[in-house]
Each structure stands twice: as C-alpha cells, then as structure tokens.
C-alpha cells in the first residue's frame, strides 16, 4: 500500500492525507530548504490536528500559536506551569519533581514541572510571536533543548536537565547554565517547543561544524557538541572587538530560531 512519508518527522501516512498524523506538518506542500541546507520547520496550518497515544493536539492561530490538547484517560503532559493558557476545570494537575532544586533555582529554572492528566482539555502558549515546533521522538532518542523553550512533553518522555559544560560556554553561550534533556525509552514521545520568530533545522554529518549565534540555538540531538568560540574582530585604530558564537559539531540535528537576544559582545 502506498504511503506518504512526512519530510519533517519521517512518519508514514495514508495516501490522500494533507497533513501528518504524527506531527501535523503539511504533506501537500514542498519542503522549504535554503541553499545552505537549513530546513524551515513546517508552518502548521491553523487548526491542524494530530495524534499521540490516544490523545489529540490541535494548533490554533499563526502569530502566537496555541497548542490545545485533548487528553484521553490515562494520558498526561508535563510543562512549566506558566505556559498554561486555559484548561477545563476538571483536568487534574500534579507536580513533577525534577530534582536538583538548588541548581535549578540558581539556573533560573522552575524546580517543579506541572503535569495535566486526562481526560479533559488544556491549552498552552508562550509569550511572543513564533512557531510551535512539533518533534516526535522515536524510541531511544535524546534531545537537548534551550531552557524555557519547551512548551509541553508527553508522558512517555523522560525529563532531565544537563549542565552546560565549561565556564566560557556558560558565560558566553547565551543559553544559560542548563539545557533541558528529553529522552525516550521504549515508547515514542512527542515534544512541543516554542521557537521565537521562525525555526530552522539542519542535520550535521559526523564532524561537520556550523557556527550559530548563541541566542539563536533552540535544540539539538545530544550527539551534537556545542562550544562557545571567541571571534576576534579588528577595528583598526579603535582596537579590537570580540564576540562569541556557538560551534556545533555533528552528527545530529540542530534547530535554531530567528528571533533572539544577542549576548556577550565586548
């Protein structure tokens, strides 16, 4: 039987579908890839609906999209509690202890994540214009995400956080002290991120490098290494100027956002 492969998440879909059942990406439009190889994250059509486990997720709006999730009995999602836009009164909430409370407090991260349990509806959005990026994670995948970028993760994902190695990376990397890490075990999971502006993804080969603005980094496979590298710029009689870029080394995917805060020029 003929199937259509989603170019974003590689899931197989039935013929005739216009958007992927796993990540909502349009199947009937050509992928947008720049000449240098950055693939634009699929712009999810308004009211796009896709499934995970027995639940559904619908993306609404195109300036600051809302992810509305209809949770089935037995399904749950976790999130930072301040991204909930609305919920039905009967949806129970619980707290997910992340561990490392003092470290997270120092890193400016919430040390408790909230969990919403089905059945019922709950909706999430962030605080600026951008895109919801849907990343289905297949079993045994590890993804590192810039802190405060994740919108919601499904119950089958294991959440942890990792310290960004190296003082230079912490001070000049633009990503704070920690990154969120999402791991799948035997079951696939679904991760929703919010990227400010537009989001682009590139897959690096083994040893391939790319330099990115540290504030623009959004996510990467854990196999990709990230280091802050100083760039010296001579400005003639006025002396020197330096800035830092994040050097990403493959193999794996790297995701960046087009709206960011630049840190670390001196």
């Amino acid at each position: 039987m003929d199937r259509i492969e989603c170019q974003w998440c590689k899931a197989q879909n039935e013929m005739g579908r216009t958007n992927c059942t796993t990540c909502g990406a349009p199947l009937d439009t050509k992928d947008l890839v720049t000449d240098s190889g950055w693939a634009e994250a699929p712009r999810l059509r308004d009211m796009t609906e896709f499934r995970f486990s027995n639940s559904t997720c619908q993306i609404e709006g195109e300036i600051v999209p809302v992810a509305e999730i209809a949770l089935a009995q037995g399904d749950s999602v976790f999130f930072e509690h301040h991204v909930m836009l609305w919920k039905e009164p009967q949806v129970p909430l619980s707290a997910l202890n992340t561990g490392g409370g003092m470290k997270r407090m120092l890193g400016g991260m919430p040390h408790i994540l909230s969990v919403a349990h089905g059945p019922g509806r709950v909706a999430f959005s962030r605080d600026a214009s951008g895109e919801v990026v849907v990343l289905p994670l297949h079993p045994s995948m590890e993804l590192d995400v810039r802190e405060h970028a994740f919108l919601a993760g499904t119950h089958s994902l294991t959440y942890s956080f990792v310290r960004i190695q190296g003082l230079v990376n912490v001070l000049h990397g633009g990503g704070g002290m920690y990154m969120d890490r999402f791991v799948t075990q035997n079951e696939p999971g679904l991760l929703l991120l919010h990227g400010y502006g537009n989001v682009f993804q590139k897959t690096l080969q083994q040893g391939e490098k790319i330099m990115v603005e540290p504030g623009g980094f959004l996510y990467k496979d854990s196999s990709v290494t990230m280091n802050a590298v100083k760039q010296n710029v001579k400005t003639g009689l006025m002396g020197g100027h330096s800035m830092y870029l994040a050097e990403m080394t493959g193999p794996g995917r790297v995701g960046i956002q087009s709206m960011y805060v630049h840190h670390g020029s001196d």
Binding site: G61, W86, L113, S129
Partner: protein, 298 residues
Amino acid sequence: MTMPPAQAAYTCPYCRMASDGGGGTCPACGAPVDLRLKVSDSGWVEQPPIRDLAHIRFGRSTCQVSGTYVPVAEMALHDDDWVYFSHHVLLHTDASVRLGTLPLKGGWQRMRAGMPLIMMRAQGPGHIAFSADAPGETLAVPLSAGRAIDVVEHRFLVATGNVAYQWQNSNIWFTTQDGDDEEWHYPLGKTIDQFAATGGNGLLLLHAPGNTFIRDLAPRQRILVQPSGLIWKDQSVRMFLHFEYPHGQYWFSSSRYQAKATWLTLEGPGRVAIQSVFERPEGSGYVRRTSGATTQQW
C-alpha cells in the same frame, strides 16, 4: 426572465451585526464574510484577522485596517465625527484633524494604576491612524446602542465619540505573605475599562498581542483562563480567582508555593475573548487574602 433571489441578510458571527454581506468583509467589524468558521474542538472560535485594507463604517466616517503583523487602523473622519484614544497609539494624522484632550476623572488613582491620565480626542475632517506596539490583532468590536462590555486595561486602541468610557476597580486581587510583609497582586490589573454605546451604535477598536479567540459561555458554564490572557467580556460574565495546587510526591513539590496555578474563572452567560500571549503569572508564596476565590487541591 427569472430574477435571482434577493440576498438574505448576513449576520456576522463575530460582532453579531447584520449587513448585506456583499462586500467581502463585515462593514461593522471588518471580519471576512464567507470565511469558514474556525472552531477548535473545545469550542473556541478563532477571530479572523481583519482582512488587509478592509473598510469598516461608523457614523459618516470609515476605518481601514492595514497590515498583518502590527496592524494600523486608519480613519477617514467626517466633520461631524470624533474619536478618542490614548496619545501613545497615534501613528499619523492630517494637519486638518483637530486634536484636543478628553479629561478623565480619578487622575491620582489612574496614575497609581499605570493608566494614562488623559485621553486625546480627534475631530474630523481628515485622516488619522493608530497602531499598538506588539505583533497581534486589531479587533473591531461594534457596540449596538445600549450594549456595554468590560475590557482589560491597556487593550484599548480607539473608540468613537458616542461610546461612553469609564473605569472601575477590577476587584480581582490576592495577597501573599513574604516574611512579615504582605504583597498585593492584581492579576487582571488594578482597574478594568468599561465601554458602553450610549448615543446609537458605536465602534470600539482594541489591540491584542498574539492571536485572539472568542467563546460564548452558556449560563453557569465555567472555563479557567490565565488572568492576563483575557481581552474583553460581556458584563453578564462573572469572574473570580481560582487557585489550584497540584499534588506532588513530596511536601516541597506539592507546590503551595512555586507551581500554584492562578486562574481566572469565567462563568457564563455571555461572550469572552482571550489572547494567546499572556504575562507570566506572578505571586509565588502563600495566599493570605483574596477578593473572593475558589481553591482546588489535587
């Protein structure tokens, strides 16, 4: 020869005003005509952005909304018509437009609440344009004679002269304990604006960051929303605070403090509008006093 049937009257699903529906956009609020309703599975209707360069009529004047990221509302004011607005939303004006001030009562309280002390008024003839400072949607809310709505502060863009404006305390607050200090929080803002069409039909323009969704609540139907996500509501909709404390494995993760969810309960009947951008809720800590709230311990 058979004549085609006369076009049935069209009632806009967003502003509920009737028109002939022939112009492509609703002449009262600018919403596209014939657009398939975008309704989420849960019942929120996405308010369609006003089509670029759509015309809206009021009095003997027109308003044209242009742009899609941070829309501009440009008005062609007739001699007899006037509008009022906060001075910081004025983008450009013809020299022929007569600008003046519209004094407001309660200056000291408005200053404390961070609200502008005066409104400006603009009288035709001429063109004048307004825009806000965030990517989002400009909403036209036509008010039929006698209708009044409550609008969250800082969402107001411009209103026609026959729309009466007043403001009052939102009466949505809570306090938290911080050592010996008691900290006050106003999740909806300290005040709330009220607009009412008194002298015939009026037009109110609002600007909301992000996308906008509206929903009609049935009598006694409740929904929990982020307080700073509310844009406007019918005055028949009740609102009060609701605190939820998620259950955690340990005492410190039972989140009486950090992960407490502060909601605004909206109870029908009536229409409510929310935006997808909202401020991070403030006020971690033990809730001591409230303006009236319900609590749920999960």
